[in-house]
Each structure stands twice: as C-alpha cells, then as structure tokens.
Symmetry: C2
Subunit: 187 residues, 2 copies
C-alpha cells in the first residue's frame, strides 16, 4: 500500500496513537488502513464412498488437485461461501453437513474453513477455474498431486475419521516451509 | 474506496474479465482491489464457575459488557489472536481449551471465532479498551447490558452446555435487525 484509498495522498507506515503495531496511515485525511487475514471457505463433497476433487485450471498450482474452496466474499456467510465455491469450481450441488477443519496459515494471512458436504447429484462438471472434476475413492486420491497442504490435511483427517464414523472439528496451523508457495492466495 | 492504493489514480467499480462481481479496479496500473470479510477472534475465559467479562471503554457500545475479542491481525493464528485480545483487553493470561462458536455476520462482513479458555491466574485488570474487568457467575451475567449478540449467543450456549459437560462446536449466522449497530466493527 502506497496511497490512501480514500483521498489518494501518500500513506506512511507507523504506529497510530493508542495502537501497538504499524499501520498504513494517511496524514492528509487521517484514515488508518487496517489489513487483516482472509478466509478461504470450501467443501469436502462426498458421494457414497467417494470424494469430489477439482483439477486446477489456474495458478498457483495449475494442474494439481484440490477440494473446491476460495476466498469468502463480502455479504456472505461462511456456509454460503463454501457452497458458492463448490458451484463455481465444480458446478456441484452440495448440502453442508458440518464444519470440519479450521486451518490458520499465518505466513500467507489466510484461514481455511472447510465443511463436510453431501453431493446432491452427479451433474458436476469443471467450472471456469477447473480443468477436470471427478470422484475419487480413498485408494484413488492423488496424494502426490494435491494443490495445498490444507487440502491434504483435510482429506487425511476425513479418511481416518470415516473408519470409526465420528467427525470432530479440527483447528490446526500450517506454517511456512519450503513448500510455502503452495499456500499462495488462490484468487 | 476511491483511489488505487498502489498508484494513487482513481478506481472504478466494475466486474473484471473472468470475474462475476464488481470490484474496485485501477485502469492505470491494472490492480484489482479485492475486499473480504474480517475475522474477530476471542475467548470465553473461565475461572471455577465464573466467566471473565470486560466493560467496554470504546465505541461502539461503550459501557456494555463483552468477552475479550477483536480483529485478527496479519501474521497470527486464530488462537494467537484470541489470546492476544484477552491480554490486551483484560490483561488476562489464558490457556485455550477448544474452539466453540463460529458466527457469520454477513451485514457487517465479519466472522466471530470464539474459544473456550481457562483463566490461569487472577492477575487480570482492565486493558486500555476496558473500563472494568470482572468475573461473573451465571446468575450475575448482565444479560441486558451485553455489547453484541455474538457475545450473548456464546454465553447462552456455554451455560446451557455446562449443565451436561459437553461443548460441541457451533456455527451460526446473525443477521441485521434493528439492533444491527451492535455488530459494527470493534476496532
């Protein structure tokens, strides 16, 4: 951020009075520009014993497989965002079961919120951001070609939990490592 | 948003190519400015049979009672944000138990994420944003003077769940009504 989005003058980075961390501040119109993490909402769509994955048609991680997920938009609930992303990326009609994984990614300022969901019919097909959409049994999951560690974590928990039929809610943190580019913003 | 924060030129609101909703777009430097909901993270700090509340020293809802909570900052995990807010607002040392309520507020573009927590000692005191901090038994909770419906919802669930000792995770939506000003940004 270099310029004030309210008045167009230059901003400076400093700690405003009464605050305790640097913000972009406009000394012309006095606006303080806060920056905050973003929510990525998505689903784990289930049909019988299979899970729906999308092959990414966009960067980052073009050509790898992911669960339908993307940035929550203004005016939405988390569930609406998760269902919209399922429609947009996989043309999938899903019904939300319950919240499942909440994953903080502090190095990219994102929080993933993934819901378990029922696929309501087989009328799915690739949306604009997908090359291919298909159902995978556990044995078929392309573990080496998954797009993000958030997706791997969610799928691992799901298949482990499915053995005993209980699905608790998981909160988890994934930090930067040499695979960090995988968690770059998806939008 | 009126000006591009990258180059200072005027922005216009329109649907970018390949997108499906209006964004602020800079036709000079081509930056698309996405806007997304914010996460408010906080705790429900418990000491024996009592809960810690803070009396707000800031608007909105000056003088009403709340659980310690505030906007998640860049570089944090959700748990770190919840613990930091507990320190800042109540000088409270807490240990996170588990995630408890996730509440979408689509009319103000916020998501509340509240954790059950143990208060580790009684060395709490009002932080800069609080007039007073104290422990309340269930019978003492000032239900008519709570700051936000998110706080009321979280406390109601907690006292109901405490009777049988099970604390599931709740996802919930609170929409605008004639009390909507209660959910204005806290920062």
């Amino acid at each position: 951020m270099k310029f004030c989005s309210q008045c167009g003058h230059s901003v400076t980075s400093r700690v405003p009075q009464g605050d305790n961390r640097p913000r972009y501040v406009c000394d012309h119109c006095r606006t303080v520009h806060y920056q905050n993490p973003n929510i990525v909402a998505g689903t784990l769509p289930v049909w019988e014993n299979k899970v729906l994955l999308c092959k990414r048609a966009i960067e980052p991680r073009y050509g790898t497989w992911t669960l339908p997920a993307g940035f929550m938009e203004l005016g939405e609930t988390m569930e609406q965002a998760a269902m919209r992303e399922s429609r947009e990326e996989a043309c999938a009609n899903v019904e939300i079961d319950d919240i499942y994984t909440l994953i903080s990614l502090p190095h990219v300022d994102q929080v993933y919120v993934m819901y378990r969901a029922q696929l309501l019919d087989l009328d799915f097909q690739p949306g604009e951001e997908s090359l291919e959409v298909r159902l995978f049994s556990e044995a078929e999951i392309p573990w080496q070609e998954l797009a993000f560690r958030t997706i791997q974590y969610t799928l691992e928990k799901y298949f482990a939990d499915r053995r005993h039929g209980r699905f608790p809610v998981y909160t988890h943190t994934i930090r930067a490592n040499n695979r960090a580019p995988q968690e770059e913003p998806e939008e």
